[in-house]
């Protein structure tokens, strides 16, 4: 047998499929495990044999980018192997996605929870953009949640490198509700700002618990956007009426975001509005978003491990999540209130009690200090 085939077989033997967990048009997803360690993984089997042109573009893109991108907030591609005419991607196992969490009406989101998901999304996206990769399909069900609460950007099937200036790209990307107006107007030259618009929509959805801009067609999507944010003027967005597919869809007045997002802080709405600026060049970058005052103001982002989890997993402890948050709040002052002599007497237990707080501080530092 050839060396290359042998190496492939060795890779294949490292992973075992356990059960089928999903089937799509071109791929089957299995729950699997690493044979040596028992570690749970997801195996995405892409049927290549059925494609006339061989490996298809979404598989190529996914493999190309995930092979290069390694970050806490980007899904980890652990291995790739082939079996007959199938391509198998071994991915880290992720319990849930943000869409499921948003839709779970039994969960209560605290402002600190929303901030935590937002900062993890921006950190992952900043890393992609720093590596010159546009994701082009950000939406809540592509933001997966690990067992430890970490959010991971997934599904790079539509991703591509930043194009050189002057090079055309397709505008048929990003799921409609999360698609920015420049793509709806047919812009063939665009930037990382398209992903930021999507994050803005997701950010709003986390607060509203329902999609923010749910249009029914391309034109209706524009109307929905303009109804929410006001029809852009030439001042707001110079040159937009010259875009290839521009069409007037009616004049709508600007509504203050405050009217809809009644509970949000001023910092929060300021960041949201910067993600949803019409002029793509003025829209906030992922890097600048991470330096936004919202992420420095109280409350600190919830530690990922304390974030709400979908209730089917927590069924044995129905209030596990709120308990987590409450416990945090109690521990904070509790540690501070410890008299020094108690610390001396029961050093080990006091240390244990302090750990969650220390972790919490670490998290806010690492997320803000080094985006």
């Amino acid at each position: 047998m050839d060396t290359v085939e042998k190496a492939n077989l060795e890779r294949q033997r490292k992973w075992a499929k356990v059960k089928k967990v999903g089937e799509g048009a071109y791929a089957v997803v299995y729950q699997g495990r690493e044979v040596a360690t028992g570690r749970k993984v997801a195996i995405k089997k892409i049927k290549v044999g059925q494609f006339k042109d061989g490996l298809d573009m979404s598989a190529v893109r996914e493999v190309k980018y995930l092979r290069e991108l390694h970050h806490q907030n980007v899904i980890e591609l652990l291995d790739v192997f082939s079996s007959k005419t199938n391509l198998n991607l071994v991915l880290e196992w992720l319990e849930a996605d943000l869409e499921k969490i948003i839709k779970d009406r039994s969960l209560v989101f605290l402002p600190s929870d929303i901030k935590s998901w937002a900062v993890m999304t921006f950190r992952g996206l900043e890393f992609c953009h720093r590596n010159f990769v546009l994701h082009r399909d950000l939406k809540p069900n592509n933001l997966l949640i690990a067992a430890d609460g970490q959010l991971k950007i997934a599904d790079f099937g539509l991703a591509r490198d930043f194009a050189d200036p002057g090079y055309k790209m397709t505008c048929q990307v990003i799921t409609l509700w999360y698609r920015p107006p420049e793509l709806l107007f047919g812009s063939r030259h665009y930037s990382s700002a398209v992903d930021i618009w999507s994050v803005g929509c997701i950010f709003a959805e986390l607060m509203l618990r329902t999609p923010y801009l749910p249009g029914e067609s391309d034109i209706d999507q524009l109307k929905t956007i303009f109804r929410a944010l006001g029809t852009p003027t030439e001042d707001d967005w110079p040159g937009h009426t010259k875009l290839p597919d521009y069409m007037p869809v009616g004049q709508f007045p600007k509504m203050p975001l405050r009217d809809l997002f009644t509970a949000a802080t001023a910092d929060c709405l300021n960041l949201l509005s910067k993600c949803l600026i019409y002029e793509p060049r003025k829209r906030v970058s992922a890097r600048d978003a991470l330096h936004h005052p919202y992420f420095f103001a109280l409350p600190n982002p919830t530690h990922p491990s304390k974030l709400p989890k979908i209730s089917t997993q927590a069924s044995s402890h129905p209030h596990e999540d709120t308990d987590g948050n409450v416990e945090m709040d109690e521990l904070g002052p509790g540690v501070r209130a410890l008299p020094p002599n108690k610390l001396k007497r029961k050093l080990s237990s006091a240390d244990e009690g302090r750990r969650p707080l220390a972790r919490r501080l670490d998290f806010s530092q690492s997320s803000l200090g080094s985006p």
Binding site: K19, K64, V80, S82, R130
Partner: protein, 355 residues
């Protein structure tokens, strides 16, 4: 950019530097898996060649004992010469299809990387080149349909291209992203235009000459040894030594200049297509020493297919037996309450079936 620190070394892993201090290039699969010292490169090729020769000798002997002593196998340098010829053919094809430079450069890298894992005696570079180029159109986001692709290439059917796609993807370790010197040169070019002593005349010639050296470098091992930025600066230095030195000064990276000399030397020495007569001789000998197992219809090929078919049949039979056993062993009335072992076993056996 840490130009001076990017000396070739054999580290598989990107050192122990903390993640946030590592440059983006250092985190790439190219930096981690596809950089060699000249010695490692020679060693890799020599051992690959030796292993191939001994394997093929055994196959030939099995077909007709004693016959392998008449065969002169290709050595590593001859293999390399043949691959080089087909790297130069990529340029011709890309010109024909008007593919962008990224596609051409990526296909060349794929072809060179492929032959660090395989031998031309198993896989002829002509076929590998065609598939590598087709794969590169996809990984560089410039896909064309397979039918259109093969209709422009004489004596090539879609299956000729597709049959090798998996093998090539595997050989590349599914690492499709490649960092190219021509991109780095473009970056340098934007940089040097803001230098004070940027010349006023002849600037187009400087860039075009540098780019032609970049293209020549694709015929060499440079990309397997040096960083793309180093190669780009070396090509700029071949075109305008003063401008390259001025750029290095402006970045306080003059210590990179000595490294450039060996790159320049390599490009000047190896950067032209091989002598066709010499390659023709290699190709003629390849016909006699290629692995019979890979020649469709040969005795060894049929024997190997037969063997594979037998193994597959055994595997199927084993699976069917497992399924039958679990069906028999699990009592349809008794086990549901205690556990689902039976179901799972059936499931597992069924899962691999379509693999």
């Amino acid at each position: 950019m840490a130009l001076a620190t990017q000396q070739p070394n054999g580290d598989d892993e990107p050192s122990t530097k903390p993640a946030h201090k590592r440059s983006i290039y250092e985190a790439s699969t190219q930096y981690r898996h596809w950089r060699y010292s000249p010695e490692q490169l020679a060693q890799t090729r020599a051992s690959l060649n030796a292993a191939a020769v001994s394997a093929i000798r055994i196959t030939i002997e099995a077909e007709s004992p004693g016959s392998s002593s008449n065969v002169t196998f290709l050595n590593a340098d001859e293999e390399r010469l043949l691959v080089k010829l087909y790297v130069s053919k990529i340029t011709q094809l890309c010109g024909h299809f008007r593919f962008p430079e990224d596609v051409e450069a990526t296909a060349a890298s794929y072809l060179k990387r492929f032959y660090l894992k395989n031998t031309v005696m198993d896989w002829h570079p002509k076929n590998v080149m065609l598939t590598a180029l087709f794969l590169a159109t996809k990984t560089c986001n410039h896909p064309i349909s397979l039918d259109e692709y093969t209709s422009h290439i004489p004596n090539t059917s879609p299956s000729d291209v597709l049959d090798l796609e998996f093998l090539i993807a595997q050989s590349l370790g599914f690492e499709f992203a490649v960092w190219h010197p021509h991109r780095a040169l473009w970056g340098l070019w934007l940089d040097v235009q803001s230098l004070e002593d940027f010349p006023k005349e002849g600037i187009t010639e400087i860039y075009d000459t540098a780019l032609s050296h970049i293209r020549a470098s694709r015929l060499t091992d440079a990309e397997l040894i040096f960083a793309p930025s180093q190669i780009a600066l070396a090509c700029l230095a071949l075109s305008s030594p003063t401008l390259a030195a001025a750029w290095a000064r402006s970045k306080s990276s003059e210590n990179v200049l000595p490294i450039l000399e060996s790159i320049q030397e390599m490009i000047t020495r190896d950067g032209s297509p091989p002598n066709v007569e010499a390659v023709r001789d290699v190709d003629r000998r390849l016909k006699l020493c290629k692995n019979p197992e890979k020649v469709v219809g040969s005795k060894a090929y049929l024997a190997k297919k037969d063997q594979e078919e037998k193994a597959a049949a055994e595997k199927r039979a084993r699976k069917a037996e497992e399924v039958r056993k679990t069906m028999e062993e699990s009592d349809p009335f008794g086990e549901a309450l205690t556990g689902k072992h039976g179901d799972e076993a059936v499931d597992v056996a069924g899962l691999d079936d379509d693999d």
